[in-house]
């Protein structure tokens, strides 16, 4: 029945001079995610894009479009010619289909940017609404809170009728010049932080600290898998794997037990800043949420943050764990995050980490640590891999 999907972008339509850039990157991404559906055509006008399905089932295409940041609303639509009778017929057909889903009330919204069409919006509104009411049962009009909104848009290339609207991913389309380094541990929080950062139009690269043999191949795999899920929302992602064994062992040996976690975090922050510098990332994102664990008290943040003057973005800072878990389930990272492998944060976790570390103490202890050497060594050993949106490793077998 449906032959088009209408893509509406809310926020970016307002962005003044930057609008064009935003719309272009959005269109590029929309084309990218629909490339597997042969014959699909994407066209664009001032405040929306139209995806012509060319015979494809709308559902799988819709599922793809729902991963694209910058899209506010998605509607599956039928196109007709500029013919009032046909518009009425198709409107009725759509509403009848909606009745199968149990709708009891509806309203009609007509927009007529194509003024050559002879009928005025108000008249059409009445005409179509009346026609639908006469030909259906158990259906009434509710203009304030309808179960279904029948939208009819008269454009120069035809009339588009839709009444099945769904929410897009929201946010802003990715700007590849806005690069941010995400510290990705493998837990539940950091992928969500990455997702929320990407949502604001940012291109993310990820850093992961790997301490073989204390952390296994499986825990590295877990991080690669999480990165691949994130890549569904913004395209391929560069993942920097930092060899961290030596740093952790040295901290373990030289630093007091209750400060080892704080100092490990400071080392991670230093290394991440260096990688950010090299790749042109302008900020660091973490999955910290205030008060969640020892390293995330306000005192800890103060002490850890001391070692960098890069902006540290903490999109989860005020969220409760349940809210974070809900997002994590919605974006499909949860099942991967709960795989039970040790990561670099848990494997050396001391019995009683300091919850209120102080900058001066951390600095005093670090005098006995070869900080610069360890950072140099770690940065020099970084392995960078590109995690592709599509997994292609075994394509020949499948």
């Amino acid at each position: 029945m449906y032959d088009h999907i209408i893509v509406r972008y809310g926020e970016i339509a307002l962005k003044g001079k930057n609008r064009k850039g935003f719309v272009n990157s959005l269109k590029k991404r929309v084309k990218q995610v629909t490339t597997d559906f042969q014959g699909i055509i994407v066209t664009q006008s001032f405040d929306r894009m139209v995806v012509k399905l060319n015979g494809h089932d709308p559902d799988p295409v819709l599922a793809k479009l729902k991963t694209v940041f910058g899209i506010q609303k998605l509607s599956v639509a039928i196109r007709t010619d500029h013919d009032l009778e046909e518009i009425k017929e198709k409107s009725l057909e759509l509403i009848r289909d909606q009745q199968k889903n149990g709708i009891k009330t509806f309203k009609v919204t007509v927009k007529r940017p194509y003024k050559q069409f002879p009928h005025r919006s108000q008249d059409m509104n009445r005409e179509i609404g009346g026609y639908v009411l006469r030909n259906t049962e158990d259906l009434t009009v509710d203009v304030h809170n309808p179960d279904s909104e029948l939208r009819v848009e008269i454009k120069s290339d035809g009339a588009f009728i839709s009444c099945d609207h769904s929410e897009g991913a929201g946010g802003l389309p990715t700007n590849h010049d806005n690069k941010v380094m995400l510290m990705l541990s493998g837990g539940i929080d950091s992928p969500v932080a990455g997702y929320l950062t990407m949502k604001r139009g940012v291109k993310v690269e990820a850093v992961h600290f790997h301490s073989p043999p204390f952390t296994s191949e499986r825990s590295r795999q877990k991080v690669e898998d999480l990165t691949r899920v994130l890549a569904q929302y913004g395209g391929d992602i560069r993942l920097h794997i930092v060899p961290f064994t030596n740093t952790q062992k040295t901290i373990q040996k030289e630093m007091p037990d209750n400060y080892s976690m704080t100092i490990m975090r400071r080392m991670m922050m230093r290394i991440t800043e260096r990688i950010a510098e090299q790749t042109g990332a302008l900020a660091i994102t973490t999955g910290e949420s205030l008060g969640q664990v020892a390293s995330q008290t306000i005192q800890s943040m103060n002490t850890i943050n001391e070692v960098t003057n890069y902006p540290v973005l903490r999109p989860l800072i005020s969220m409760d764990k349940v809210d974070i878990m809900n997002i994590s389930r919605a974006i499909d990272t949860y099942d991967i995050s709960i795989r039970p492998y040790e990561d670099c944060c848990t494997v050396f976790l001391p019995e009683a980490p300091k919850t209120r570390p102080k900058r001066e103490h951390a600095n005093k202890f670090e005098k006995y640590l070869p900080v610069d050497e360890l950072v140099e060594e770690a940065v020099a050993g970084v392995e960078t891999i590109i995690i592709k949106e599509k997994e292609e490793e075994f394509n020949d077998l499948l």
Binding site: D57, D59, P60, K100, S216, E217, R218, Q221, D335, E391, E393, F394, L397, L398
Partner: protein, 379 residues
């Protein structure tokens, strides 16, 4: 050789065998092992699952790997019955199901479940009013075959699903072992479980799939290490899974380009069979393009099969799974076919590789065989 028994099983594609060989040889680690080799195989299984899911337009976590159509049907039916028995003990199916469903229901009856076996019309379809009437608040499952394996009749799944969901809380299971790729069925919202078998689409025996809608819970029939998200324990048959993914992809590609040819072959076959005096066609009018069932009353089908076999032509009597019983086919009986006719049924089942030439040769040899046999035997 002319192989016209594709509903019994199909010849695996070369590429499928190659994928199996390579996987068995190179990726033999256990996907649950913690080491790198295990991780690699786990990725392979995940990618195979993803590939199958996207071909069937479902989510990856809705694919359960099984050992074949029989296991998929058993898991769907008994798994639902055992999981939801505290909600009710009534089950609904039809009289023309495959043995793996039929026998599951018989077992459940012995355990205290109540089963309604809906009758079918001469078109092989259950009546909508029968279904609506049979549904009660105790009904926990309706299980129906999409395309019948003996006659090729098609159940109107979409409409029946709406009736089930409007009138009950029952789960809806589809046996789509015969229909996949031949009779298009994008899985409707009303369907919760669907069974598939790899060797019916040029994959390998010992491999099956069960589509299980998200949030549908089943009682596992195999318990152990918790593979397949706890639904089906047992170390994954990795080479078989890879081979299944390969087969499904190639098969659905063929399905797109050869669907018309299959319909053409079917009408040619049925027109010419219909013109033979001794032949009665049992397959209903609106049916799957690959199955044609007919009878030659008076001639024992076994004899005819062996006569054709001498000419290197392979057809079958009925479902291979029930061909060892002497009873007339329960499917044909349910369709209202007389005993004499039901006893003398022959099934032709095509694949996308079948050619017009093969059909022509088959028809010529069939006519010769009928002519010869008519003179020597009657019963």
């Amino acid at each position: 050789m002319i192989y016209l028994d594709n509903s019994a099983t199909t010849q695996p594609y070369d590429e499928v065998i190659e994928a199996f060989r390579k996987t068995a040889l190179d990726y033999y680690a256990n996907p649950s092992s913690l080491h790198r080799k295990g991780g690699e195989v786990e990725r392979l299984v995940r990618q195979a699952r993803g590939s199958i899911a996207s071909l069937l337009q479902i989510d990856s976590d809705e694919v359960v790997f099984t050992s074949g159509g029989t296991e998929s049907n058993n898991l769907a039916i008994k798994g639902t019955a055992f999981e939801h028995m505290n909600r009710g003990k009534h089950l609904i199916t039809s009289q023309i199901e495959h043995a793996s469903c039929m026998e599951s229901f018989r077992q459940l009856e012995k355990m205290g479940f109540n089963v309604t076996y809906l009758p079918v019309g001469s078109d092989g379809q259950v009546s909508k009013s029968d279904l609506a009437e049979a549904l009660t608040k105790d009904t926990i499952l309706v299980s129906l075959m999409h395309v019948n394996n003996e006659v090729g009749s098609i159940q109107p799944i979409k409409e029946l699903g709406t009736i089930i969901k409007e009138n009950s809380r029952a789960l809806f299971h589809i046996d789509d072992v015969q229909g996949i790729g031949k009779v298009s069925l994008p899985i409707p919202d009303t369907v919760d479980l669907v069974s598939y078998s790899a060797h019916k689409f040029h994959g390998l025996k010992g491999n099956g799939l069960l589509y299980k809608r998200r949030n549908v819970s089943l009682f596992p029939l195999l318990s152990g290490g918790g593979q397949e998200k706890e639904v089906r324990s047992g170390t994954e048959n990795v080479p078989g899974i890879v081979a299944t993914a390969k087969a499904l992809r190639l098969y659905l590609q063929q399905s797109q380009s050869n669907s018309e040819k299959l319909h053409h072959l079917k009408s040619k076959l049925q027109n010419e069979l219909g013109a033979i005096n001794e032949v009665v066609i049992n397959t209903p009018r609106n049916s799957a393009p690959h199955i044609t069932n007919f009878s030659i009353p008076g001639i024992k089908p076994e004899v005819l099969i062996h006569a054709l076999e001498e000419k290197d032509i392979f057809v079958s009597t009925r479902s291979a799974c029930s061909s060892k019983t002497a009873e007339p086919s329960h499917v044909l009986t349910a369709l209202g076919v007389s005993n004499a006719r039901a006893r003398s049924a022959i099934r032709i089942s095509l694949s996308f590789q079948s050619t017009e030439k093969e059909i022509e040769v088959f028809l010529v040899e069939l006519k010769k065989a009928i002519h010869k046999l008519k003179q020597v035997m009657r019963y």
